[in-house]
């Protein structure tokens, strides 16, 4: 019985979303506002239990008497105060006069991820890609791949006019880019239709038991 009710709720919400294809209407508005609220609440709860609880609350408030290494890594309980403090600094944004203090936390966050965007990126996106493309020019396919890559790289030159030899390469690059984009577009169609088949199957089979 419970299953039928929940399936019906899911089905009605599914139809409400599809009604948007015709035009904006109260059913869509309802589904939209509901899912924004529900999912925002869902993520607040999930992030609290997955990060704040194990990394801050548990080490600081519950296990502070035990003096073994707890929390993440090998740090002691007081290390858990740091993310807690950085997190609370974010809340200075609620008070306009001291709101700038939140920038300290943001600075660490932005800087930390910027650092991670340096060395691993050089490895995975530059060096290994060049290595994978260092092909012997012993087949037409290999020649095309090398020319295509050089052309695409040339297209991304910003500080020179695309004239002369650079212009020729850049034009070649655009040709490869466009064929590649067309191919990705065509390749994706099938999986998107599978999603739609899945939803229609939910409505006709799981809900209405028609097929």
């Amino acid at each position: 019985m419970g299953t039928i009710i929940w399936t019906t709720i899911g089905a009605i919400l599914t139809l409400s979303v599809y009604s948007f294809l015709y035009k904006d209407n109260p059913f869509y508005k309802f589904a939209e506002h509901l899912v924004v609220g529900i999912s925002a609440g869902y993520y607040l709860v999930i992030y609290y239990y997955n990060f704040i609880d194990p990394n801050v609350v548990t080490p600081v408030f519950q296990l502070r008497l035990g003096d073994q290494a707890i929390g993440f890594g090998s740090g002691a309980w007081w290390l858990a105060l740091i993310p807690g403090l950085l997190g609370l600094l974010l809340y200075t944004r609620f008070f306009p006069k001291v709101a700038w203090v939140a920038r300290w936390s943001l600075g660490i966050y932005v800087g930390g991820y910027a650092g991670l965007g340096l060395s691993p990126v050089m490895q995975a996106r530059v060096i290994e890609q060049i290595g994978a493309n260092a092909l012997p020019l012993t087949s037409v396919t290999n020649v095309l791949i090398v020319v295509g890559l050089l052309g695409t790289l040339a297209y991304f030159f910003f500080s020179m006019k695309h004239k002369g030899i650079l212009g020729v390469f850049a034009r070649t690059g655009i040709v490869f880019l466009m064929v590649g984009f067309g191919a990705s577009f065509g390749y994706t169609v099938m999986s998107r239709i599978s999603l739609l088949i899945g939803r229609v199957s939910f409505l006709l089979h799981d809900w209405l038991h028609l097929v």
């Binding site: 939209e32 899912v35 993520y43 020019l137 090398v146 991304f156 500080s159 984009f181």
Partner: protein, 418 residues
Amino acid sequence: MLADRGLARVGRSGMGSVAVVTIAVALFLCAGVALAQQDGDIETAETMTEEVLQPLMPPTAVTAVDTPNDRGSSINVTWEHSPDSESGTLLGYSIYRSAHPETGFAFAGRVPFVQDNYRDSGIGDNEPTYYRVATVGLDGRESLSETFGPVEAFPQWFNGDRINVMVAVIIFVIAIVYFVNAARSGKDLFIRRLAGLDEMDNAVGRATEMGKPILYITGLSTISDVATIAGINILGEVAKKTAEYNTKLIVPCADPIVMAVEQEVVKEAYAKAGRPDAYSEDDVFYLTRSQFAYVAGVNGIMVRQRPATILYMGMFYAESLVLAETGASIGAIQIAGTDAVTQLPFFITSCDYTLIGEELYAASAYLSREPILLGGLKGQDTVKFIAGVLLIVAVVVATLAATGVIETNFMAPLFVTG
């Protein structure tokens, strides 16, 4: 006179570029040699052989060394296959370890018989350890090899497998810093036209004329995607313009930290334009972290607030086309920029202008025309040039090696990383 000075400048910068490129290539080649030598070291350590034959023949040449370039606590055990491995009578190999050469061997792990190595991890650092490897028959019978040892696990302070990455990063940093400094000293830098960005002014102007808002979306990712940071940088430039024209700017966010940063960016832009009152925190707001719930919300904003201009700058996933098609249906001018290769086709199809890949990262320099940012772009191009040269050299060497003109492809280890 002026032309002369210009030429001299070009000459100097040309010399600088050549120097940077040459040093870079040289350093990179050195890194390759170092890597190749490291491989050699490991090979010499493997040449200790002891052959013992027993009824069910055990593996031979058992060797154990500290796992290189790691955080310690692990030893690599290798061996040569037992002759029985061909006969189909083997299940696999069992690895045993002990602190003593003769006694106390404990089971460490088992691998299928197609494997000839095992990484024994989770052991103590700097403790002498002995290894034996046994063949395991289909009937469960085992036959032990000779003992190898002692060997100690220990952590390394430098990951030698990544020396090429480090050298490349250093070259990159030098190139960027060099050209940023050159730009600081007042050099005029050329940058090619980027159609999507030239259109940005018109797009903002159009919204102003129509009295409609501009919708700005930095995508669904967090700051951990650098594309999001690029999107935030561009938002800074856009907010300056909307503040100047007094156009409403709507920025729905999918990540709360991105929201905090974007509120900062927009608020400052309005303050600098002398219109701090025109900024409202309800304009830069959080919707939800959830991908398609966010899309549902943004679609609602599009059809109800009918922005004249929509800008997508950052990291996008499958939602790109849902957003861009809804935007197209309300007749908005749309400019997109992303480095998500899989989503570019959809933006190219549905938007008026699209910044492809690296163009997104060039955008904030292009829009702001700040010399130091433009200098960074020049550095980027230099490294791109180096990458192109290296690729050509590597292709030539690979071709020569494949056709037998030279014996080994000595460029290949350069691109192997760990």
